[in-house]
Symmetry: C2
Subunit: 360 residues, 2 copies
DNA sequence: GTGAAAGCGCTAACAG
DNA sequence: CTGTTAGCGCTTTCAC
């Protein structure tokens, strides 16, 4: 009847609390109390247990502990990898803040694919994470979560309309509208928009789809309403959807900017696309600032150093990540408490890539 | 004697295999067999179990499973966050490759602090990860690991001299030497080196310390030997150690470049420092390419687009990460097999930031 | 202050 | 083909 089960999860031979107890000459319960610092243990016994523990190099098995306790002190981060700079800053903010609050972070990437997102969330739930931060790649269709979700969830950057969970995002619509406003104040009337597109299981989505990412929709909406507000026509051929990789994004930008009736100003929806636009301008020998004005979403280290220095929509990405995690932990510990969603505002950092249109 | 233990880890009320078994009218063992697809179960029983499982929305509890099986299908990544671009690419490569091979990734950041690294590894081991990828912030002093380590370990990018584990890195010394060679071929004789510095529990380390990071030491060594090879003096005041944040790195670069006897060429040890150097040049009104030639380690999306386009040492960072993970998984599954360490070579991408020194 | 024992959810050896 | 049962390592109630 002896069961051949490997001793301990993955670390054969690692000392168990039983070993500590044996060496200290006490029961498992007493050893646990002494090590856990709860209940009451005589000073002397406690010391003997401590010594036994260090002598054996004992460390508690967190898997067994999680099983007994019913929580793992682990949170899951599902991130769509929209853009390098966003991924980097948000991930760092979350990991750091989580560590500070006593949680570890399981990070899964979805490459903007909703199918991968579904699988990721399921796996994370299977691993019994205490909470989830999701940078979703769809605005609706979150059938992978019950409502309310089995564990606290915070949506980061992008809204989910069909899940009752807190969202931490920025006011993209206003930001896009302000960009249009800045362009028009400089005398532009032809403003283009360079977007990325999302996919579900490899299939591309139109921005009118209910699945389309909320930030993207917000920015498109802001651009449209900004144009209307200024009494300018909203031209659909100035709205371009590009793939995620640099080369095809550049190709899309070139296509947009080589139309005869091309825009004189361009808003790029993230920093990678801004870079692609810059590259396209170099190729087309278009001078940024005079031939074409440019604004990009998300500030980066290179933006002020490129020439001309890039005017950007600066979003508090790091703070967004930290806030998302803090909200999540609030929900995890404070049982019933549901924090409000928060919308931070973005700010325009004017540098040198926006100027009056040439001859206009 | 009823124990008030929360049902299931973190997800109260989640269906257990017992519930599935009950609904299907079979024993737990049979349900497990049907779901796990091992042993033999009659077709009809199997179908009944499957149906019960979907009806209840059953998902196996991976914590309990890990406890029983002795492994977690989780690996730990401890990353020092040397530079944004490295972190981003390496992390992405590891997470993606891990997912492909059936592992999830627990990511901890150490901010280049060795104390944090020690804590991170311990926590990860406590959580019973199946293996560890470490971007260490010290070349020696890895007292947090037994030798051999309790689980497979791969050191990424930076070597550890005191642990018997596989290392996946690039040939930094040769790369740095080649940079010096490129500079001298363009007629430079005064070549500076802009480095970052690492810390242990907040205390800064000299590069001669046995704790100093191997990549940094490699690059310093390569620079020195390159200079000697060319019969040029190695000036210690042309070797500058900068902090990690942009502003103080820029200040260090300014200090280096405003010496009367300043270098005419500069090698920056990572892309963030290259950017700081560029910023410093702007501030000092030094024209890159003519007043000062510049090379940076690690290629980035902005490097070809900045003006003048930056000459860089391109390292296969993504491949480095993927390779590290593959090596790790080989060790995890192939029990005794210890893969060889691998040193990939870097390549120089010549763009426009290196030219003949002005008047020289 | 300390020990015995139960049980978290799962798998697998063994018996039938 | 199926059921019984032990046990992974831990915490905690209950009894002493």
């Amino acid at each position: 009847m002896t069961d051949q089960v490997p001793r301990s999860s993955g670390q054969a031979g690692a000392p168990r609390i039983t070993d500590v107890a044996a060496l200290a000459g006490v029961s498992r319960a007493t050893a646990a109390r002494a090590l856990g610092g709860y209940g009451s243990v005589s000073f002397d016994t406690s010391r003997r247990v401590q010594e036994a523990a260090v002598q054996l190099g004992y460390r508690s098995n967190e898997i067994a502990r999680a099983m007994r306790l019913g929580h793992t002190s682990t949170i899951g981060l599902v991130i769509a990898d929209i853009s390098g700079s966003f991924f980097y800053q948000a991930t760092l903010a979350i990991i750091r803040t989580a560590a500070r609050l006593g949680f570890q972070t399981l990070v899964l990437n979805t490459d903007e694919d909703f199918g991968a997102e579904r699988r990721a969330v399921r796996e994370l739930l299977d691993k019994r994470v205490d909470g989830l931060i999701i940078v979703t790649s769809a605005r609706t269709g979150h059938d992978y979560l019950t409502n309310p979700p089995p564990v606290p969830v915070v949506f980061l950057d992008r809204r989910a309309d069909d899940v009752d969970a807190c969202v931490v995002s920025t006011d993209d619509e206003s930001a896009a509208r302000e960009c249009v406003s800045l362009f028009t104040r400089h005398g532009h009337s032809r403003v283009g928009l360079l977007c990325n597109s999302s996919t579900v299981d490899g299939k591309r989505l139109p921005y009118t789809s209910p699945l389309a990412i909320s930030t993207m929709v917000g920015r498109v909406t802001g651009w449209m309403s900004g144009m209307k507000q200024a009494g300018l026509p909203v031209r659909s051929d100035w709205l371009v959807f590009a793939e995620d990789d640099h080369e095809s994004a550049k190709a899309s930008a070139i296509r947009l900017l080589s139309q005869r009736d091309r825009p004189s100003a361009l808003l790029a929806i993230n920093s990678e696309l801004a870079l692609a636009a810059i590259d396209a301008c170099h190729t087309l020998k278009l001078e940024i600032g005079s031939d074409i004005s440019l604004i990009g979403f998300d500030d980066t280290a290179w933006a002020p150093l490129i020439s001309p220095a890039l005017t950007v929509v600066s979003r508090p990405v790091y703070r967004l990540g930290a806030l998302a995690l803090e909200n999540l932990v609030l929900q995890i510990s404070g049982s019933q408490f549901r924090p409000e969603s928060v919308v931070l505002s973005a700010s325009l950092i004017e540098r040198a890539s926006v100027d009056a249109p040439r001859g206009g």
